[in-house]
């Protein structure tokens, strides 16, 4: 029974006008929860999104953006002209160029250059749209993570996931619309990356955890059976209904609904998190292991969430901040994600879900073409790269994306962008567009201003579209 019918049968019998208000001026921009397929402002090419965020910033120069000239001039002192106007977080003094030690090959019909660190992903090269020309405003992790997610480098604004669910609502009445899965420790911006900011808190990202309760406070108190809890819920409901009849506040009707949803979540979430029903082939494809906390498991969970109509699934994977020991650490991180990321794309595809699911892989910024091998005092450290905000790579796949396309170019060293720059606001505008949202029209009035995810800019890059 939907809410409209509920109100009509709730004994309250609100007039049509009030009902209209309840439905249209609810907290979502969407009139009500059903929808999404057709988009909010225009036809959507994706219904759901899986956003893979590599916390700490992987090196684009060792994965997706080969620079032969940089390799050729490895360890040369960097000409000052290349550094003009650039900001770095840590490095200074005499800076040296640092070529990648990875082997790049062209893959698929698209001929995407992908390094040997991502052998599996290379096999699905033709599904990916590589954007080499992303740039951002912030050079430190927490502000840059906030900027990517909320379009603002300090706290207090809603995450892209919150904006999307605010705009589109949910397709599943038993699960939250914005779910976050995490492997490794939290990012520097912590819970504020998934915060609903000034949007109603129903739009906050809900973290599904791999230890303890998968959703906070999901399990019944120890020693209390489902039967007992159901009796309590029934009593709460009948008392709430009686009170609704007495005082008439529709907020009580909402409360009754939310208690029912909470009860359904107590079975829908454990069912979702239980990988027992997955075939051994699937488990192998992802490299997932039951009961383990891993990026591989999270990729498989992401597919299960998308299957169930969850709108926005975000995966955080940490430890990509390679200021030193880059070669070893990057190789080890790529091992963590290469197979499972590829599996996610293949699995979505074989289930016919890829065309309606947008997959985005990226991070808060990229890494410098310069070695972080000489610190501010001229002391040598082991080879790594510093934060780089001026040019880095993100890729997209599925949901309306032109697979095999390559967009934007960087200069011969990878310092700056020479063709088709994409600001973070542009990326967000384009992602919203694919979901059927016009980023300029998805607004929320707060503190006297119509806020939006893309602040006062943002350009949709239609060249990425299939």
């Amino acid at each position: 029974m939907d809410r409209r019918a509920f109100f009509q049968n709730s004994g309250l019998g609100l007039g049509a006008a009030a009902l209209g208000t309840l439905l249209n001026e609810s907290t979502g921009a969407m009139a009500f929860c059903k929808g999404g397929a057709s988009g909010l402002h225009h036809a959507a090419s994706a219904k759901s999104i899986v956003y893979l965020h590599m916390i700490g910033a992987p090196s684009q120069l060792d994965l997706f953006d080969p620079k032969p000239e940089l390799v050729r001039r490895d360890n040369e002192v960097c000409p000052p002209s290349l550094l003009e106007g650039r900001r770095f977080a840590f490095i200074g003094g005499e800076l040296r160029l640092s070529g990648s030690t990875q082997k790049f090959k062209q893959h698929g019909q698209s001929g995407h250059s992908i390094s040997n660190l991502m052998p599996n992903l290379a096999k699905v090269a033709d599904e990916l749209c590589l954007v080499h020309s992303l740039h951002t405003e912030e050079i430190n992790h927490a502000p840059a993570q906030l900027f990517l997610h909320t379009g603002f480098g300090r706290g207090g604004r809603p995450s892209i996931g919150s904006w999307v669910t605010y705009g589109l609502g949910s397709e599943n009445s038993d699960l939250p619309a914005y779910v976050v899965l995490q492997s490794g420790p939290a990012g520097g911006a912590g819970a504020s990356m998934m915060s609903s900011g000034f949007l109603p808190s129903v739009h906050q990202g809900v973290s599904f955890r791999s230890s303890g309760d998968s959703v906070l406070y999901l399990s019944n108190p120890e020693g209390h059976s489902n039967g007992s809890r159901r009796r309590v819920l029934d009593a709460v409901r009948s008392l709430n209904e009686a009170h609704l009849e007495d005082v008439g506040d529709p907020e009580i009707a909402t409360r009754i609904n939310q208690y029912e949803l909470a009860y359904r979540m107590q079975s829908s979430v454990p069912e979702l998190m239980d990988l027992g029903g997955e075939s051994s082939d699937t488990m192998e494809l992802y490299g997932a292991k039951p009961g383990k906390s891993s990026f591989a498991n999270n990729c498989l969970l992401a597919r299960r969430l998308v299957e169930r109509g969850v709108r926005f699934v975000e995966l955080y994977d940490s430890d990509w901040d390679h200021h030193n020991n880059l070669d070893d650490r990057l190789a080890s991180k790529c091992k963590d994600i290469d197979q499972s990321t590829t599996a996610l794309i293949l699995d979505l595809k074989q289930r016919g879900l890829l065309e309606s699911t947008l997959v985005v892989w990226g991070s808060e910024f990229g890494r410098t073409p310069l070695a972080q091998g000489v610190d501010g005092n001229g002391n040598k450290t082991s080879g790594g790269r510093d934060h780089h905000k001026d040019a880095f790579t993100v890729w997209l796949a599925g949901g309306g994306i032109r697979g095999g396309h390559s967009y934007g170019r960087t200069d011969e060293f990878g310092f700056g962008i020479t063709e088709d720059p994409v600001h973070v606001h542009d990326l967000n505008a384009t992602v919203l567009h694919l979901l059927g949202i016009d980023h300029e029209r998805l607004t929320y009035k707060y503190q006297g201003r119509e806020f939006r995810l893309t602040d006062v800019s943002g350009k949709v890059h239609k060249a990425w579209f299939a």
Binding site: R3, L14, A17, L22, N24, S26, T27, A29, F32, C33, K34, N140, H141, P143, G155, G156, G169, S173, P176, A186, G188, G190, A191, S192, Q204, S211, V215, L216, Y217, P221, G227, S228, R231, V232, N240, A242, D246, V247, G248, D249, E251, I252, T254, R255, I256, Q258, A262, N324, Q372, D375, G376, N377, N379, K380, T381, S382, K445, Q447, G448, E450
Partner: protein, 983 residues
């Protein structure tokens, strides 16, 4: 029956007309306001999208590219009316961006067009209402208070009237919740009901006067102010270390309890430090602006952080005192309100005179950024005296030490290399690598000092040039440094700056084959480890055994240098080599790594080359022991402290920052207040104190309205202006402008007393109304803007918890002090950068104190509060959302805090109503939860639940079954909508 289909919640917007537009002039004026606010950004003087301009009558009549905007013959066919009536998201809807016009505004424009679109010349130049000083409007009937008079007057224009008075028990509960944030006991509610039956007005006044004096008042009312002040117990951002600021939170509670006049309340918080001879309390008050988040993430630019903090202070001032969205003017002149970018940086200049709050310990090392902002020590006088005594005694002993001859061999602690014995040569590092990329600096004495966020574990690899002839061993000195926590030598934390050195290895370079090896050279065997001191079970010999887990450590001898020495087993291996590499492996975790160290080569006789045992006389040793004991006593006295504002001694010039970019320096700007508002007093020096006085000047048209509006909003759920942060053009108009002004003027006249204002509200007939809503009334005014009924809305996050604990009888009402930690799920306080903290639940009843004392770590806030719409306080917030979500349901049902409350609630009922009938006990429990008596039906529901639960447990012991049945009842009561709602 299946309910609900989505995660949406409902917040209702008004569809009543707030302005009773009776005459043409008012109609013209109101229509202009709507057009100006909604349309003129794109159809005004600056641009004319579609060729349409709406800022003069002639222009409107001229229409746009696609024809007439208004059709005077067929009003309903007017293009404007068609466009504004389209649904949000439609391609042709106007305004194109933002919300659609409210039905009231649509109605207004329809009436305006029907009336021939009257136009008031000069309307354009008229000041926006909020910039005109409030005046008290005259009232026909002075015997009625202003609130009831203006509310009734407004209702009458729509043919409506006030609701009946609420049930006295419900009213008692409302009054308690609005004053002290805690529910009345059934006895208190009964007492009120009894006296209200004779004289409601008198009963309310008596109750209000009594409870406003309770110390719990300040705790309830501190929360909204602390939201505005963005008070938290940590810095925010990646390095989210805890800081001490709770004395400021306590100051707010105490000042509210003392009903400190709002003008003084303002001045002390913004500029207490600039008052003549400020008291400690006035200094603590300046913590208001130290609440601004501070980014101490390694690699952060200290200037950028400082700029952001000043911006935060200016924006906060705008919201809190001016009801103005000043932040718009950070990058350009305000688009709607009369504030220029120059005005913005004029205000910025007032706050631009304080010290950096985060800076690099070493300017060359970006990773060395540290929190350094000024703290005020808060010793009690007694502690102060004790510390002074200890200090002077320690000083005496140290002076006495100086008179003694120096021991011949303690040079290893000094940086003075002249005094080194012949057989020891300090090695100068050529290269240093930290496996975790920790920042470091090589000091003049050739020691290496680590900086920045210490990694959990670390392995150092250092290479030196050596002279191999005659070398016998190596000396490792682990040294102290003021930049290390607790002086070091470890990096972990100030309490236990230990290090745990798992292995010490040496290698000589190997120019021949074998370079493919992962090792940095040929390994050199070491033996005969010695140290000045080894911790029990952590002998120095462990550093050169083959066990990677055993180690050398130095607890409890922290804060002093130590040394270890190692002899080469076979010095011939070294012949011909020029460089030597050593590797220090420290993998215990918890940053038990060495913070500063130096390596020397030992020559000749190994034993003789060592720094040796102390050659100090017993007398010197005794003095040192005394000093150590006194220092220990001193550190045992905990010194509470709090963040305060402190002005720089040298003034800092302020400039504009173009596009709000801290690197894009523009013109120089002097401290100044916005030109469109009242002037600053001549002759006052342009500092924060002057600014604070300017804000609370009676000439300020905004401050009184803004403050009374917020307090009104806390009571009624919405301010008279429903956008409490924005009284500008884009904000909402007041629902009751005359009432807002009467309250604002009265507030200042009554000495800026918040308690008097609150008393006036709570003792009004308007407040006392029942909050029941009929279908018709709801349809007309879902948001209750016209106030034809009493307030009904969910308690704030802290209130939900306080209320449950109070009902359960377990609330511990102890006040003040450092933050508390209630139980929360494991694994939430994970560390990214900065200090690692264990979340250990506060012991015993401490965990049951009020929500205002719960620790707020910005990047991992207490989840139960976030579920109920509290914010992480990363920025000023003058109004919280009020959502209704399934996570709230799970929280109340299953959080151990509420499960525990339900259990204690059972005990309370059984104790207070011992031996009474089940019905009487159930009724008592119901009344504890919601104050009123249950209806027969409600009592039946509880009774049935109890019996069903008993039956379900009939196989268990009767006492256990009864316990379970009672638990079901109290859980149910704590989960009722009514229980978490003020109604």
């Amino acid at each position: 029956m299946k309910h609900a289909c989505c995660w949406c919640i409902l917040i209702m917007a008004t569809n009543v007309g707030l302005v009773a537009a009776n005459d043409r002039e008012a109609l013209a004026s109101n229509a202009y306001r709507v057009l100006n606010r909604a349309c003129m950004e794109c159809h005004g003087p600056a641009r004319q999208d579609g060729g349409l301009r709406l800022d003069s009558q002639a222009a409107i009549k001229a229409g746009g590219d696609s024809g007439d905007a208004i059709d005077f013959d067929a009003v309903e066919k007017s293009e404007i009316l068609r466009r504004i009536a389209l649904p949000k998201g439609h391609d042709e809807v106007m305004p194109k961006r933002g919300d659609v016009l409210s039905s009231a505004d649509q109605k207004l424009l329809r009436e305006w067009i029907a009336a021939g679109a009257p136009w008031l010349e000069g309307e354009k130049d008229r000041k926006h209402w909020s910039y005109i000083a409030p005046r008290k409007a005259t009232r026909d009937d002075e015997s009625v208070n202003a609130i009831d008079y203006f509310v009734a007057k407004r209702l009458a224009t729509d043919g409506m009237s006030l609701s009946p008075v609420a049930n006295p028990h419900v009213l008692a509960r409302r009054l308690y919740l609005d004053t002290i944030g805690l529910p009345p006991t059934p006895a208190e509610a009964d007492a009120f009901a009894a006296s209200a039956s004779k004289d409601t007005q008198g009963a309310v006044e008596e109750l209000v006067d009594r409870v406003l004096d309770l110390p719990q008042y300040g705790e309830k009312w501190a929360t909204p102010w602390l939201d505005a002040a963005r008070y938290a117990d940590s810095h925010g951002f990646q390095r989210d270390d805890l800081h001490e600021l709770w004395a400021y939170r306590d100051w707010v509670i105490q000042s509210l309890n003392a009903d400190m006049p709002f003008d003084q309340f303002t001045i002390e918080q913004l500029a207490g430090d600039l008052l003549p001879q400020p008291t400690q309390s006035q200094l603590i008050a300046t913590g208001f602006n130290r609440c601004a988040p501070c980014n101490v993430e390694a690699g952060t630019d200290p200037d950028e952080n400082r700029y952001n903090q000043v911006v935060d202070r200016v924006n906060t001032l705008g919201y809190v005192w001016l009801g103005t969205t000043l932040e718009c003017a950070q990058c350009h002149d305000h688009k709607y309100d009369p504030f220029t970018m120059r005005d913005y940086y004029g205000l910025f200049a007032f706050f631009n005179q304080t010290e950096l709050e985060a800076d690099r310990a070493n300017p060359k090392v970006p990773g060395s950024i540290k929190f350094i902002g000024p703290y005020l020590n808060l010793n009690s006088d007694e502690d102060e005296t004790k510390i002074n005594q200890l200090n002077s005694r320690i000083e005496e002993l140290k002076n006495e030490l100086k008179t003694r001859p120096k021991s011949s061999d303690d040079t290893f602690t000094t940086v003075n290399t002249d005094k080194l014995p012949e057989n020891r040569r300090i090695l100068k590092p050529l290269e240093f690598v930290s496996s975790e990329g920790a920042s470091h600096e090589t000091l003049e004495d050739s020691s290496i000092l680590l900086a920045g966020d210490p990694p959990e574990t670390d392995t150092y690899t250092v290479t030196f040039a050596i002279e191999p002839t005659g070398i016998v061993g190596l000396l490792l000195e682990t040294l102290t440094d003021p930049s290390l926590p607790g002086m070091g030598p470890g990096r972990g934390d100030a309490k236990r700056p230990n290090f745990v050195l798992n292995s010490f290895e040496a290698f000589c370079d190997s120019s021949d084959a074998g370079t493919q090896s992962a090792e940095p050279g040929v390994s050199l065997a070491l033996t005969d480890a010695r140290a000045d001191f080894s911790q029990k079970s952590f002998d120095v010999a462990n550093a050169i055994d083959q066990d990677p887990r055993s180690a050398w450590a130095i607890s409890p001898q922290f804060g002093q240098p130590h040394w270890a020495a190692f002899r080469f087993e076979d010095t011939e291996q070294l012949l011909g080599t020029k460089s030597l590499t050593i590797r220090l492996t420290q993998n215990l975790g918890g940053a038990r790594t060495i913070g500063r160290f130096r390596v020397s080569a030992l020559y000749g006789s190994y034993a003789k080359s060592l720094p040796g045992k102390s050659t100090e006389s017993p007398e010197v040793i005794d003095i040192k022991k005394q000093i150590a004991a006194l220092e220990k006593q001193r550190s045992a006295i905990s010194i509470p402290k709090t963040l305060v504002m402190r002005e720089k001694s040298e003034p800092r010039a302020t400039t504009m920052f173009m596009r709000g970019d801290f690197r894009a320096v523009g013109d120089t700007v002097a401290p100044s207040t916005p030109a469109s508002l009242h002037p600053m007093r001549d002759g006052d020096s342009p500092n924060r104190l002057t600014l604070a006085k300017w804000l609370v000047s009676p000439e300020n048209p905004l401050v009184g309205r803004v403050v009374v509006n917020r307090i009104w909003g806390e009571v009624f759920g919405n301010g008279l202006v429903s956008t409490p942060e924005d009284f500008g053009l884009k904000g909402e108009l007041p629902s009751h402008p005359e009432l807002l002004d009467a309250l604002a003027v009265g507030f200042v006249e009554q000495g800026w007393s918040q308690k008097k204002l609150l008393r006036a509200i709570l003792t009004s007939r308007t407040y006392r109304q029942s909050s029941k809503v009929t279908r018709d009334a709801y349809a007309v005014d879902p948001m209750n803007r016209l106030l034809a009924r009493g307030p009904r809305f969910r308690l704030a996050a802290e209130g939900v918890r306080d209320n449950a604990l109070a009902i359960a009888g377990s609330l511990y009402i102890k006040q003040f002090g450092p933050p508390i930690k209630p139980p929360q799920p494991d694994g939430l306080w994970t560390k990214v950068g900065g200090e690692k903290y264990d979340y250990s639940v506060s012991p015993g009843t401490e965990s049951l104190r009020r929500g205002v004392y719960v620790v707020l770590k910005r990047m991992s806030p207490y989840p139960s509060f976030i579920n109920f719409d509290a914010t992480p306080r990363l920025a000023c917030r003058v109004k919280r959302n009020r959502s209704n979500t399934p996570l709230q349901a799970l929280n109340l049902l299953n959080d151990p805090v509420y499960v525990d409350a339900a259990k204690r609630f059972v005990s309370r009922v059984k104790m207070d109503r011992k031996g009474e009938s089940l019905t009487s006990q159930l009724e008592y429990a119901f009344r504890l939860a919601v104050a009123r008596k249950p209806s027969a039906k409600e009592l039946d529901s509880l009774f049935n639940l109890f019996q069903e639960e008993l039956r379900a447990h009939d196989s268990t012991l009767p006492s256990a079954a009864e316990e379970a049945a009672w638990f079901a009842v109290t859980s149910t009561l704590l989960n009722l909508d009514e229980t978490i709602t003020k109604e």
